[in-house]
Subunit: 350 residues, 2 copies
Amino acid sequence: MPKKKNIADRVPQNRLTVQDVARHAGVSIGTVSRVINNVPGVTPAVSMKVRAAIEDLGWTPNLAAQNIRSSSSRMIGFIFSDIRNSLYARMTKGAEEVLTAKGYLLVTASSDGKPEREVALLELFKARRADGMILTVEDESNPLVNEAIARASMPRVMMERELAIGGTSVGADHYRGTRQAVSYLIGLGHRRIAMIAGGRGTRVARDRQRGLEDEMAAHGLAVDPDLLRLDSFASEYAYRQTQLLLELEQPPTALLSFGVRLLPGVISALRTMGRSYPEDISLICSNDTDLATIASPAITAIRYDAMTLGRVAAETLLDQIEGRLDPERTQRIEIVTELVLRDSCRAISG
Amino acid sequence: MPKKKNIADRVPQNRLTVQDVARHAGVSIGTVSRVINNVPGVTPAVSMKVRAAIEDLGWTPNLAAQNIRSSSSRMIGFIFSDIRNSLYARMTKGAEEVLTAKGYLLVTASSDGKPEREVALLELFKARRADGMILTVEDESNPLVNEAIARASMPRVMMERELAIGGTSVGADHYRGTRQAVSYLIGLGHRRIAMIAGGRGTRVARDRQRGLEDEMAAHGLAVDPDLLRLDSFASEYAYRQTQLLLELEQPPTALLSFGVRLLPGVISALRTMGRSYPEDISLICSNDTDLATIASPAITAIRYDAMTLGRVAAETLLDQIEGRLDPERTQRIEIVTELVLRDSCRAISG
DNA sequence: TTGTAGGCGTTATCAA
DNA sequence: TTGATAACGCCTACAA
């Protein structure tokens, strides 16, 4: 707590520099720099004087200027579609946690899933000389986006995505998670299992589809392609597709709702149609949310910790940036999922 | 699309500067600068050469270096408790929208509601020379935080908060929103109306409490202080307080659940106790969420657009930064709320 | 129309 | 131990 009246209070324009501090303390700018950077070899008396001057003026070293010298911004970019998606909010929190601890600034940016925006943001982070990037792009194989990523040429980790050109990628183990869910449903006697999801052109979507198919196959069952509705993560899409699925001649007996925003759509559709789960259809959702817990009956969910995903991505990125890991190396890090059993599925006679 | 093989592909270290571009184009650095800044008076032919060189090398001007000259970071900080709170995510999206459009970078940071973290983040943004700040502090009157805000001495707008020292503040009209909700309940015959909320020491909390009291008073009714549980926004708090309220000798007949995370707690508590709404208690929540819509029965909610809040905050901040508004001026901007009637309240005989 | 040089706020090297 | 001074990457008078 400063005893003296802080001069900064009277000088709103933050145009203070080392120069001012040096003058105020009666030393050279070099000395000031040494003091704030704790370079050994400064006389305690001088150090005190300088610290007093700093306190007095309310000066803070200009990080932008430091960065320009160190040619490191100590800033990490994180691009995803929309921060309002609770998944990304959680990842952000996790990543922020480890990055702040290491003195890095996390800057998030929403692309609305538009490739042009993704490219623009990539350029932006390149211009701002981010030290690295965490990326969740809409379509892994979009050439424009891939070019922009290459052009940015900085350490990166793909979040729930995987690039053809390789590199680090982190994500939940949706393959295993889906198999587990499907196995559970098959055990309950289900044979016609539908899946609503989005994210075409992403590893997540591939893993989920493959998980469904493989688990079915393991039980000698085939997936009816008509039960796969994989075009969008939007609530309205889930609403519509749930209706369509239930109107099928041979409707599914179980439904996998894979996407945070999908569940409200599914539930609304059921309600509108006067159907209920688990009586008319068994239900499993991805992402354990309030809605899954509070819905009545509560909904069986594939849970995984998105914050951990964020943490791991940040740590791996720092490993690259700080030279503990070869950025060229291709590696995949996976987070476990857990099937949380609740009351949304019922056994059927088959 | 570059025809030539991009040299940057082979030069991962982004150490290119104007110098390199100038050399490559056979001009001086001044010319390069003029070209990228569209300064009139450059021969088209030269301009072309320069642009070709830029494309060729894959160079992007270093924004940090530009900023150090312009002494403007084109960066805005936004501090709040936790990005996982959907309210802040929405505000972020809104603010990001207007800031990106104007070439500013929005940097969000979670403080976990800890004053020390708030102070640290304030210092951080000061060091990074943010052009302005949007602030949602935990306790408006914390002296340490207030000092840090003063020390940062930059344009700011308080989000859902209001400082004693004045300045711009934006927020939803919780006073009117609460009165409207209470008026509705009183009209249904309710006299014992409870309120669970957090945010002590913030304008939001004051507005809500005042709204409840004033509307009650307008009907010649008094608020039973025992029905006010205003200590936390945590789900567990709502769970516990709902139980306690219902166990009262004279339990409330209606409950205002004012906080996004509170509602799940309230619903769980009711379920645990075998009570249901609107039969045993009428229910109104703040923040229209999926949960409020999907819960069965659907829950009457006080809705307001958090994204607009973010947008307005950003616009007002830019007005200050770009000199269209005196930062010293104290002003309050309010967003309307709307009572969305659903099935969670019932008329009682009184 | 183009080039040169000084300055933005730091850090780091080299003398003193 | 401290002080000058040259970078860092860019912009912009001023000169050519």
